[in-house]
């Protein structure tokens, strides 16, 4: 059983069709990067996987069960999602925000167990923000806020990790750090899906690439197999030259 499976999923906002018959699955231990041009349905696909939207047709299976059949609480114990950020309350203490990732594991009376604290500490360490944990969110930089948000998602745990443009606001060092952490989550046995913009990073860290184009799957496989010059031209409408080096795929414009 694959932790994540999309089966002929179609979805639209009102009369506007966003996804047409999208099918793919993600195995435990696999890091899948979704890439594609703006408006191709990347984020919507992630929203379906996160159970935030229901497909109009087709199925979304999470741990072998229809996503919509879970309660939000049970779902959150399996699937953690890093959303694209909206503002956070400025006076909120960072550690308290990270602790919210544990919501589905806390009870009415047991609101901060030792396991919660251990998971929070570990997540803060991993995102290198432990020293900022006592600060208020309004005092942190954009990149620090994003790392705190990632720490919250890591503290949540579960079998599936979904990341929507996780490297936003991050400097290069922390972009690599976050992607390395995402890859490690996959190595630890989770299914990881990230919407990414940078091919090079996607090819370097992800095991497989899902290339999307106008709401359809335009390619699915290894980075070298999917991110070809022909595919890039077809999907993005630009001619590039692809170079492979150290497992990464680079594309430079043919006519800069």
């Amino acid at each position: 059983m694959d932790p994540l499976r999309l089966d002929g999923a179609c979805f639209g906002y009102g009369s506007h069709r966003v996804l047409h018959d999208v099918s793919f699955s993600v195995q435990a231990g696999e890091f899948l990067a979704i890439v594609g041009p703006n408006g191709c349905g990347k984020s919507t696909t992630l929203r379906l996987l996160a159970g935030l939207e229901r497909p109009d047709a087709g199925r979304v299976l999470v741990m072998g069960r229809e996503a919509a059949s879970y309660s939000r609480r049970a779902f959150a114990r399996h699937v953690a999602l890093l959303t694209q950020g909206v503002g956070v309350p400025p006076a909120l203490v960072a550690r308290d925000m990270v602790a919210m990732g544990r919501h589905a594991r806390q009870g009415f009376l047991n609101r901060r167990s030792r396991e919660d604290d251990a998971a929070i500490d570990r997540a803060l360490e991993e995102m290198e923000v432990a020293d900022l944990a006592h600060r208020r969110m309004g005092e942190l930089s954009g990149g620090q806020v994003q790392r705190m948000r990632m720490a919250m998602v890591l503290a949540q745990g579960g079998d599936v990790l979904l990341l929507d443009e996780p490297t936003t606001f991050l400097d290069l060092r922390h972009q690599y750090g976050l992607l390395r952490r995402a890859r490690r989550a996959a190595r630890e046995g989770r299914a990881v899906v990230a919407v990414l913009h940078d091919f090079t990073q996607a090819s370097l860290y992800a095991d497989r690439i899902l290339l999307m184009h106008e709401g359809r799957v335009a390619g699915h496989g290894t980075p070298g197999g999917v991110l070809t010059e022909t595919a890039i031209h077809r999907v993005f409408g630009v001619r590039t030259r692809g170079v492979q080096m150290g497992g990464a795929v680079f594309h430079i414009p043919a006519e800069p």
Partner: protein, 333 residues
């Protein structure tokens, strides 16, 4: 700070541990002063007798103080819930038009259909719910900015006009009575009103306590809240209903007391931070204190005239409103 005993564990901030008891003492002291404030001197013995339910004060001033405390706390809670739902610190049952919705429904219920006090609360609740659906529906998608406040303002103006029409369509005596009530006043409050408000408080506050844990993630956006395990599809409507249930009975008894939620939420966040349950508890205490202060000051400032408590809170509220907007500007820059 984390407290753990057996299966129970929770966190509490140092600031809250400091502020909450201090504010409690302050509000109690204020209540003691309010019990004595008036045209005639009141001895400590008389006040103590009133607390035992004996004497004139127990009939006149004590219910007024209790309604101020309870009603202030409930109105503040209503506003802070709306602030969390709309993710806008300026939300308030007065500013968003919920109170005015109650006012119109109560006026129509009382003047046109001659309803009794308990029925008027239900009418007020219906009015508040109708307006909250309208405002939150129209303002959806502009929650975080000032958009929802603009929608509330527009609704307020329309409902204000309806209020004026109902009020002016009767004799002068009725107009005078309704005019004072529609500004928000605690004069003429009886022990029956205390009981009426207390019942609603007793019904609403446990629900609020039960839902309190879910309020934190809501502040991070509805998607994030759902992702960590909160079912916003039922939580948000329940919270809006709760906000209406907390504000409507107060409007039925005292008329609309504007800005109380705004003041309470703003000051509470300054005092204790952004942990919603601590903000709510602190803000309710502040709401109680501010309404009591407004009513007492309104009685004591220019005797024998009584300035309606609603007008007093409006003065203070506009000030806080401007401060809040200025602070938001600074943050956005």
């Amino acid at each position: 700070m984390i407290v753990r005993t057996g299966a129970i564990s929770f966190t509490v901030s140092g600031r809250f541990l400091l502020m909450f008891p201090a504010l409690t003492l302050l509000v109690l002291a204020l209540a003691w002063v309010a019990l004595g404030a008036g045209l005639t001197e009141t001895s400590a013995a008389e006040r103590l007798a009133a607390l035992r339910g004996e004497g004139m004060l127990a009939e006149l001033r004590l219910p007024r103080i209790l309604v101020a405390l309870l009603g202030g706390a409930m109105t503040a809670a209503s506003g802070m819930i709306l602030q969390i739902v709309s993710r806008n610190g300026l939300a308030d049952p007065g500013l968003l038009g919920l109170s005015q919705g109650s006012v119109v429904a109560i006026l129509l219920g009382g003047v046109v259909f001659g309803l009794g006090p308990q029925a008027l609360v239900w009418a007020g609740l219906a009015g508040a719910l109708a307006v909250s659906l309208l405002v939150l529906g129209l303002g959806r998608g502009m929650m975080a900015g000032g958009g929802i406040v603009m929608v509330g303002l527009a609704v307020n103006i329309v409902l204000g006009a309806v209020t004026e029409i109902v009020m002016t369509s009767g004799d002068a005596a009725r107009f005078a009575r309704l005019a004072v009530w529609s500004r928000g006043t605690l004069s003429g409050v009886s022990n029956g009103d205390v009981a009426l408000i207390a019942v609603w408080a007793a019904g609403c506050l446990p629900v609020l306590a039960l839902l309190g844990r879910s309020l934190g993630p809501l502040a991070l956006g509805h998607d994030t809240a759902r992702a960590v395990g909160i079912d916003t599809r039922w939580l948000l409507p329940v919270l809006v209903m709760l906000a209406a249930c907390l504000s409507a009975p107060v409007v039925a008894v005292c008329g609309p007391v504007s800005f109380l939620g705004l003041i309470a939420g703003y000051v509470a966040r300054r005092l204790v931070g952004d942990a919603p349950q601590e903000v709510l508890a602190t803000g309710m205490l502040l709401g109680a204190g501010v309404l009591l202060l407004a009513d007492t000051a309104g009685r004591a400032l220019l005797p024998p005239f009584v300035i309606p408590a609603g007008l007093m809170t409006s003065f203070a509220g506009v000030l806080v409103f401007l401060l809040a907007i200025a602070a938001e500007r600074r943050l956005n820059r």
